[in-house]
Amino acid sequence: MTGASPLVRCDAVRRVYRAGAAELVALRDVGCAVGARELIAVTGPSGSGKSTLLHLLAGLDRPTAGSVCWPALQHPLRPSGIAVVFQGPSLLAPLDVAENVALPLLLLGADDREAREQAMRALERVDMADLAGRLPEELSGGQAQRVAVARALVSGPRLILADEPTGQLDQASAGQVIDLLVEAARSLGAALVVSTHDAGVAGHFPVRWRMDHGSLVAGAA
């Protein structure tokens, strides 16, 4: 991490899920920070807390104890400038490919035409412009994930969080998606955090955090 303000920082974060009387501790006193332009792979076995950590970093979930803040991303509670790519199909079924990709821009207040043009450029970048008019149900898993990457990139985020983005893809598609993400992060000057249990995928990243039973056991600053 560089000496500038981190994009996101976790301090002594603890996340506990409750189901009736049972408690599941997903994260235990995790402390970490992501700086600008960092490329980080979070590894660990299933159930080690990778997804929970990414959800907290994205501001989609709140810690049970400790704090998460985004010093360089303007808003203290719900950050802007963060894009998320999920493991499973995450495109909105009622919208076509172009509309899905344009959505983040429209939500930020861009007008239709401008959002559409930027969406098409993002789709060209992931080689999916030809399928702009298709509905998500008409795409393969790899195609859908590339569209999800395009949607993540379209608003020019400063932090891209990808939760097992290749978990449901074959090796060739997985490689393409990871290459896309890394290349896009570099060209946008964004930080990229990818969770994975695939050592091959983790090998693409200069920084690797390792999680085990909810604790960050190696790699984090």
Binding site: A83, L92, P94, E99, P104
Partner: protein, 886 residues
């Protein structure tokens, strides 16, 4: 074992969905089953009222040559006879009376001999109007003809013997004269069209003293009857009661072995009530069915909202080796459990409703009917559970591959014009059925007189059924098409609310048209059900009130005693009573049309329409206002019944010469009128033939402006209350009756108290409308919470998510209510027309209960808004399990 394991899992982890489906089944079963207690109570009420209005249950006539006293002994020995009294009849060639130097003679008549205690045993037969407690009673019309009063002496003809003289003790009315003078044993077409005009009632001893010699000389001119009051422990439903009573009559005739014939007045009344009873069954089952269908559709919505999860679970089970039959077995267990639970809860609710609303815990008028009713309602509940839980599972098991089942996407067929073919076919068929039904006068029931079997010709009811189904489908398809093809206009409409997201939201809802259009159709169907039920019930209540008012004459009728000679100006005293809006004086005279004696009413034509609230259905050839205005313009005009027009071949403008009695001389003389129109109904008038003319002309022609009764319309105050106030003003000699009292004593279907059923049906309609709008929207949001979670994850702010939700709310509730209002209006009009046999008189216009309908709309909107707010809270707090699935 696997089934039990599965069921335990469903109950433990899918409890809400399972209970939701069971609740839908319960609502449908409760609605259908609740009709059972109503019908049981209504039929028992119809039977009881029918029995109560019969003056003499049986008139057993001794046959010529038979020993009348032996017949009496036989009848008295009949086990179900509670009272049996001998009554003697003699034909007289006329009565004669002299007063004021003039002698008046009547035509032929009847002299009846009544035994001691007759009036107490059969109180509905004789009503004393004036005079003392003696036993020589002169009928009202005869007294008028003779100008006779209590204390006068009249001569009673008994040709060929000399007349005998009798001193009149009292003047009486014979309210049940039609039955009293019916020809026992003669078929309906051979019965006299009217009771005799001249009647004298004598104590049995006086009768025998006067007419035993006649019986010896002319046995053909006398008859002996036994009047019977039966034990009224009859079955509650009119059909069984009718069968029971007619069987009893035949049994007695067999015992009499030809010595006597039974005139069965009780069976004749029950005969009319049994058709009303069948109408009641038909009507309220028919009204409840759409509610049950809406409840079934709601159940389907609940079940469908868990469809994706079910498909995923099926796929997992199949991937682990479960066969299609095993999957269906699991679905069957779930459907059976939901169906049984829902049916049990629904039946319990119906029982409770029956106890609270109708005072009846029985599901039918007889144990068999109750068992059939309970079985049918439970079967409907199980069918709904099977249709909503088992059929989709079976369809998926047959059609989907494991991979396909795990794809959790909403499949929407592209809209096409072809689908409108079914809608058009249904609506067109509804129109055709309606047209044919109108040609046959919407005859639903065939009740042959004297035949126990009643036939139902229910095909005209197909009209509203097809209309309802067609309009539901049309609402669904039209909503889907509008959402699919109208994205541009929709985006334009949405832009002020959602600004830059307008096109995206329009696309969103356009591609979500499947669930949104289904929700619109469901709201439309439930709103249509609520509207048609409410309008029908309101129209029914309106016509019941009109019927009661027509029978009574007005909200309150003030009948002056015979010979009171009250001038029209006496209305001013009544007008001053608190709660009185208007008072119409009514002259009642008798006039001969040819040889036919008819009632003649003298009225104030200029004010009677408003003053007596006359309906357009009372007249032919225009509105009531127009017809009576025509009468007002012609001082010597007269309105006659359609039957008289037909019988005497009258043409508009024809001169009719009637014979009216001069009130000063008592003599009948010719009076000429101009026929100006046809009147079908008039307050207090009989059902068949009567005449209506201007009071001033009648007064000048008869030499008396005396008013016989006043028709009082209240200003909205309860008629009972106003009647009581009037009684305190006019004193005990004047008869004051209110329409409320008449309604309580009525026997026709419109006299059945619908209040309980109306409350139940309207409450169900409210619940269904609220559930259809709120529940369907909430389920839709739950079903799509994953999408909202994704939208939130890619940056949608709470306000932007809210915009999408509110757009759906506006489309579902706005589209549903507009479509429901249109469909409900058409359905109401068709329903009231098809069920026109229920109404007497037929309604001039539909009664629209705006208050209730506003409440339905408000409740539907409130439940939708509540569902939207709950949904918004849910989508804003994207559940972790949703996030973790992404």
């Amino acid at each position: 074992m696997l089934a039990l394991l599965w069921l335990r899992g469903v109950l433990a982890r899918r409890r809400a969905r399972f209970l939701g489906a069971s609740a839908g089944v319960a609502v449908a079963v409760a609605l259908l089953a609740a009709v059972g207690p109503f019908i049981a109570a209504a039929e028992a009420s119809m039977t009881a009222r029918s029995i109560a209005r019969v003056g003499v249950d049986w008139q057993v006539q001794a046959q010529p040559g038979a020993d009348a006293s032996a017949v009496l002994r036989q009848v008295q020995g009949y086990p179900r006879a509670r009272a049996a009294l001998p009554v003697a009849f003699a034909q007289t060639d006329g009565f004669q009376a002299s007063s004021g130097g003039a002698t008046r003679t009547t035509g032929a008549g009847v002299v009846v001999g009544l035994p001691p205690g007759y009036e107490a045993t059969f109180p509905a037969e004789v009503r004393r109007l004036a005079g003392g407690g003696g036993g020589v009673l002169l009928a009202q019309q005869t007294a008028a003809n003779l100008h006779a009063a209590p204390g006068d002496t009249i001569a009673v003809g008994r040709a060929p013997l000399p007349p005998v003289s009798m001193r009149v003790d009292a003047i009486v009315a014979l309210p049940d004269a039609d039955a009293l003078f019916r020809r026992v044993g003669a078929p309906a077409q051979s019965q006299p069209t009217a009771p005799p005009d001249n009647v004298l009632l004598l104590p049995a001893a006086s009768w025998h003293e006067a007419f035993d010699p006649l019986a010896a000389a002319r046995p053909d001119r006398v008859a002996a009857q036994v009047h019977v009051r039966l034990a009224h422990d009859l079955p509650a439903d009119p059909v069984s009661a009718y069968t029971d009573v007619t069987g009893g009559a035949r049994n007695l005739e067999a015992r009499l072995a030809g010595a006597g014939l039974v005139g069965d007045n009780l069976a004749a009344t029950l005969d009319a009530a049994r058709s009303d009873a069948l109408y009641a069954q038909l009507l309220f089952v028919f009204l409840a069915l759409p509610g049950a269908v809406v409840a079934a559709l709601l159940t389907a919505s609940v079940a469908r909202s868990g469809g994706d999860r079910r498909r995923g679970e099926q796929a997992l089970l199949r991937a682990r080796g479960a066969s299609a039959s095993q999957l269906l077995g699991l679905a069957l267990v779930e459907a059976l459990a939901a169906g049984l639970l829902g049916s049990a809860v629904g039946l319990a609710a119906a029982w409770l409703i029956g106890r609270l609303a109708f005072g009846s815990g029985s599901f039918g008028p007889t144990p068999t009917a109750a068992a059939v009713w309970v079985s049918a309602a439970s079967a409907a509940g199980l069918a709904i559970a099977a249709g909503t839980l088992l059929v989709p599972a079976w369809r998926d098991a047959c059609r989907l591959t494991v991979t396909g089942a795990r794809r959790q996407v909403w499949r929407v067929r592209p809209p096409g014009w072809g689908r409108y073919v079914v809608d058009a076919a249904l609506l067109g068929s509804a129109g055709v059925v309606f047209w044919f039904a109108r040609q046959t006068g919407f005859a639903l029931l065939l009740v042959p007189e004297g035949v126990p079997q009643v036939s139902v010709s229910a095909w005209p009811l197909l009209g509203p059924v097809l209309l309802w189904a067609g309009f539901g489908l049309l609402a669904w398809h039209a909503a889907a098409d509008l959402l699919a093809r109208g994205r541009g206009p929709l985006a334009w409409l949405l832009r002020p609310a959602v600004r830059g997201l307008a096109v995206t939201v329009a696309s969103w809802v356009g591609r979500q048209r499947g669930p949104i259009a289904a929700a619109v159709a469901l709201v439309a169907l439930s709103a249509g059900f609520a509207i048609s039920t409410a309008v029908f019930n309101a129209t029914y209540r309106q016509q019941a009130a009109v019927d009661a008012t027509l029978t009574n004459g007005a909200d309150v009728r003030v009948a002056e005693p015979p010979g009171a000679a009250v001038p029209p100006g006496a209305r001013a005293r009544l007008r001053a009573v608190e709660g009185v809006r208007s008072v119409e004086p009514l002259q009642h005279r008798f006039a001969y049309v040819g040889a036919d004696l008819q009632d003649l009413y003298g009225i104030r034509a200029a004010s009677v329409v408003d003053g007596a609230r006359l309906q357009d259905a009372y007249v032919d050839g225009g509105s009531a206002s127009a017809v009576f205005a025509r009468l007002a313009r012609e001082p010597d005009g007269i309105l006659v019944s359609a039957e008289t027009v037909r019988d005497f071949q009258l043409q508009a403008g024809d001169r009719i010469t009637l014979r009216l009695q001069d009130q000063r001389t008592g003599a009948y003389g010719p009076v000429t009128f101009h026929y100006v129109g046809v009147v079908r109904e008039f307050p207090t008038a009989p059902k068949d033939s009567f005449l209506v003319a201007n009071a001033a002309y009648v007064a000048s022609a008869t030499g008396s402006a005396a008013v016989d009764s006043f028709l009082v319309t209240t200003d909205g105050a309860p008629p009972d209350v106003v009647a009581q106030r009037i009684r305190s003003v006019v004193g005990p000699g004047v008869q004051v009756t209110s329409a409320s009292g008449v309604a309580a004593a009525g026997t026709s279907l419109t006299a059945v108290d619908l209040a309980g059923l109306t409350r139940v049906e309207l409450a169900f309609a409210l619940v269904l409308a609220a559930a259809a709008s709120g529940l369907v929207l909430a389920l839709g949001l739950i079903e799509r919470r994953r999408m909202f979670a994704i939208a939130s994850a890619v940056g949608a702010r709470p306000g932007q998510l809210a915009a999408i939700v509110w757009t759906e709310v506006a489309l579902v509730i706005g589209g549903g209510l507009v479509a429901g209002a249109l469909g409900g209006w058409a359905l109401s009009a068709m329903l009231v027309a098809v069920l026109t046999g229920v109404f007497d008189p037929p309604p001039a216009a539909l009664a629209v209960p705006w208050g209730y309908l506003s409440l339905v709309a408000l409740l539907a909107i409130a439940s939708t808004v509540a569902a939207a707010l709950a949904g918004l809270r849910m989508v804003r707090r994207a559940p972790l399990e949703v996030l973790r699935d992404l």
